[in-house]
Each structure stands twice: as structure tokens, then as C-alpha cells.
Symmetry: C2
Subunit: 246 residues, 2 copies
DNA sequence: AGAATAGTGTCTGTAAGACATTATGAC
DNA sequence: GTCATAATGTCTTACAGACACTATTCT
């Protein structure tokens, strides 16, 4: 008769290296909108593999320090941008034998949305250089390391789709903004134009913004400055904007 | 002056166990609809931890055998259900220090949709028992091991949301079915009723189904039997059904 | 006044909801 | 005929698109 092992004994004797297992990392696609362009933060690798090439911001889970994988993403994000509480959402996980030449590897990818003026790029600590580059049709001009071009393309498609039916772009705005500025951010991400009357109806009708009372002086008719409504989560609309929902 | 290491030397000397790293697994929420209920497949654990408790179907990546994490999910799915080509979609990745008592652990969760009649439950090989249980409001009556109750709840919410604007439930139907049967599957997942005229307009208008010419005899007026249109991907509607989009 | 940008009025189009009506079988 | 289920007709409602129009500032 087989002797039963108690859970206590089992855990005491458990060796996680019995089987060969993949490596896990966390990457974050850090987006902002600036100068009428969707930008992503690229980081230059200091080490092999892909030494000196550009990649998305990422790193390994520190199992001593990080409670969960989102904490890893937030830690790396703050290291690179100085921003503590951005909008952060899990996008997907890529795992296969070939994406990293060293080993079977898995990476969980998040994306972050940051207002451009909130960012203070942090150089030095990990000695990597970093820069913002424009994303057009899901692509950047740089050749990226690992499978990060594919990840960026997929993530940007997800972002575009969500922008068609949510208020996500509000997370890219500074404290106060005009409705026209918000519309331009939508249009920049979607790479299309939106009819402005529909847009205003949609945003105001969902109570997403509040008038500040201040106006933006632009040399022509001044525009009302709005702020995000407090205690409003990301809004989900029941209808998409019309712009080819894949 | 520091000597430069070539990528070749770097890879040759790379030891993946230098840092403590999390364990990775793949879990799949296997759904079907039967007897007017959304069901999920539970598997009884043969080993510690959570020995003898019920969990979602899952397992470790076999880095020799599996090309990527989706292959792991498909392999496990076929082992449990005998189905080779179900609808399979990545849901999310959960990773933290406490979800597995043995170690900091990461699991990528997929969900699968299977027509009930296509399934032949496989017992034996891994000696685990398995069973279908009803999911109500994202919950099952069983107490699940690991964080699988939380995963199931989140995954079911995702499923419900997608059913509001896609044709996902078609993947749960047998070869032929009536529109009323399809509607019932929608209603079962959403736990609400749908107005039948709107429903028919929506499905037929999107060219998702084709008449077979056969009729279902039910003792009353016979109903047209339809089949899924060939070469039609999962359809994304521009408007949601009205049923609290979270 | 004219240019430029901000913002409104209002008509159309599309698709979902509501619900009455007709159709076809069994008995 | 009645009952039950299948299927259609058609009116209402919600909201996005189109686009003309008014409003407010500047030079």
C-alpha cells in the first residue's frame, strides 16, 4: 500500500528545477501622444542578446520585491518614466521557443497610457538610453529586438480597437484640455478623422468631462477647458465609432 | 578596459538559473453549453498541492514538445476532451507570489468553446477524474484549488462581454441548429433574454449562417436548420446587445 | 470686414427594442 | 378548431454621420 504524502512533506521536498521550464519576463508598451503623433518609448539594450538594439521597456520579475506581475510592470515603468500611477492594462502573453535566442521564453505584455507632460525620462540607473518614437500603422522605423515588432503591432491594434468604444484616450490628456484637443488625440491614435459634432455629443453625453470654467486663449474664439470627471472609470460605449473594427 | 563579449560567448555561458524565477503554467477554461446551462470542465488534482480538489484544466509547458504556449493549451485540451480544433482564445495571465503555495507562479489562461456533442471525455491517462459543472454568475458550487475561482469569474465576465458584440456562441453549436437554439445559447451565457426579432435580424444580416434546407421537426411548426457560413471568422458587430456592458 | 477656430441645430441613416401579427405543424 | 412554436411586419428609440449654421476672438 502506497504511503500517503502530506501536503506539508510534499512542499518541503518540492524542487522547482526538476523540469526544464521557460523564463518569464514582463514588457510594457508605453504610449503617449505628442505633436499629433502616437509615440512609444523604446529602450536601448545594454546587454546581449540584441545588444545596442532598441526594444520595448521590459525586465524580469523580482520575486523578492514584486507582489505580482503588474507590480513588475509598474516598477519598470516608474524606473523609465518617473510616473507612478499611469493607466496600465494587461494586453497579452507571448511565449514560444524562438522569441529569445537563449531559451524558451514567455513574456506578459502590458500597455501604459501617459500624458506627455507628466513624463520625466529617467536615464542612468540601468544606464540604458531611451527615446520616444512615432508609431504609424502599428510600426516604428527602428528595427526592434526579440519579437517586439510583432508585439507592438498587436498591442497597437488592440489599442485602436478599444479607442473605438471606450474613453481610454482621456488617460493621455493633461489636467485640463479642450474637447478639440481630446478629439485630436482620438484621431491621432485611430489615424482617421472623426466628425466633430458626433464626437462632442458622445463625450459630453457620457458625462466624461466637466467644465473648469477656464478658457484656452488661442488667438481666435476661446475654447472651454475641461477636466476628467472625478470617480469615472474608463467608459464603455454601446456603439463603436465607425472606423473599420477589423 | 572592459573586454567585449560576443553574442556567441554570451549565449554559451548563459545560465538561466542565475536568478530565482517564477514557474509558468497554462490553464484553460473549457466551456460548453448543455441543458440550458453554461458548463465548465473541472479536473480533480491527483497531486499536492490541493490534492483531490477540483481545478481548471491546466499543466506545465513541455519545452521539448510545445512550440508555443497555445500549443500547450491545445495539447492539454485534447488530452482532456479529445477535441483537436476547438475555438481557443487567450484570456489573461495571472502571476503573483501567493497563488501557488510552492512558489512565485505565473499562469497564462486560455478559454475554449466546444460544442457539447463533439466532446469525448478522456479518463485514465493522467488518472485524473473530470466533470462538467454549471457556471452561474461566474461561479461554480465546487471550491476550486489555486486562484481558479477568481480566474473563472474573470474569464466568464470576459466571455459575457464578448458575446454582447461577437458571434462567439456559434463555436458552441453542433453542425446544424435552429436560430432559436442559437439564441438560447446566447441567452444562457448572458443570463438574460434577447428579443427574438432583433436577434434574427442581427445574425442573418451579418451572413453568419446558411440555410441547410433541412427542417427540425419538433411537433409544432418545423424550424429551419442552419449551419455556420464557411470561411466566416468570428464576427464583430458595431453595436452591443443591451445587457449591462459592465 | 474677413479669417480662423469654437460650438450648435437639425436632418439622415442604421440597427436594436417592443410587440403585434401571421405561418405551420400536432392533436 | 386550439395550442405551441416559428417567423415576419412594422413602429419606436438611440445614437452616429453629415453638414449647414451661428458665435467669439483676432487683425
Amino acid at each position: 500500500m502506497k504511503k500517503e504524502t502530506s501536503e506539508y512533506d510534499f512542499l518541503k521536498n518540492y524542487n522547482p528545477n526538476t523540469f526544464e521550464r521557460p523564463n518569464v519576463s514582463v514588457d510594457t508598451v508605453i504610449y503617449t501622444v505628442h505633436d499629433n503623433a502616437l509615440k512609444v518609448l523604446l529602450v536601448q539594450r545594454a546587454e546581449h542578446p540584441f545588444k545596442d538594439q532598441w526594444t520595448l521597456a521590459g525586465g524580469y520579475i523580482n520575486i523578492k520585491q514584486d507582489e505580482d506581475i503588474e507590480a513588475t510592470a509598474r516598477r519598470k515603468l516608474e524606473e523609465k518614466t518617473g510616473v507612478k500611477t499611469p493607466y496600465l492594462e494587461q494586453y497579452a502573453t507571448y511565449g514560444n521557443r524562438t522569441r529569445d535566442p537563449r531559451h524558451w521564453s514567455v513574456t506578459t505584455v502590458y500597455f501604459a497610457l501617459l500624458p506627455y507632460n507628466s513624463i520625466v525620462l529617467q536615464k542612468g540607473s540601468t544606464a540604458n538610453d531611451s527615446k520616444w518614437v512615432s508609431v504609424k500603422n502599428g510600426k516604428v522605423n527602428e528595427k526592434l529586438g526579440f519579437d517586439h515588432e510583432k508585439i507592438l503591432e498587436g498591442c497597437t491594434e488592440r489599442l485602436k480597437n478599444k479607442v473605438l468604444y471606450t474613453s481610454l484616450p482621456l488617460h493621455l490628456m493633461p489636467e485640463t484640455f479642450t474637447l478639440h484637443e481630446l478629439q485630436t488625440v482620438y484621431e491621432t491614435i485611430l489615424e482617421t478623422t472623426i466628425e466633430h459634432k458626433s464626437f462632442r455629443r458622445r463625450i459630453i453625453g457620457a458625462n466624461l468631462v466637466e467644465e473648469t470654467g477656464e478658457m484656452r486663449q488661442t488667438g481666435h474664439r476661446p475654447a472651454m477647458l475641461y477636466q476628467r470627471s472625478k470617480n469615472k472609470e474608463t467608459h464603455i460605449f454601446l456603439r463603436n465609432l465607425e472606423a473599420a473594427s477589423s
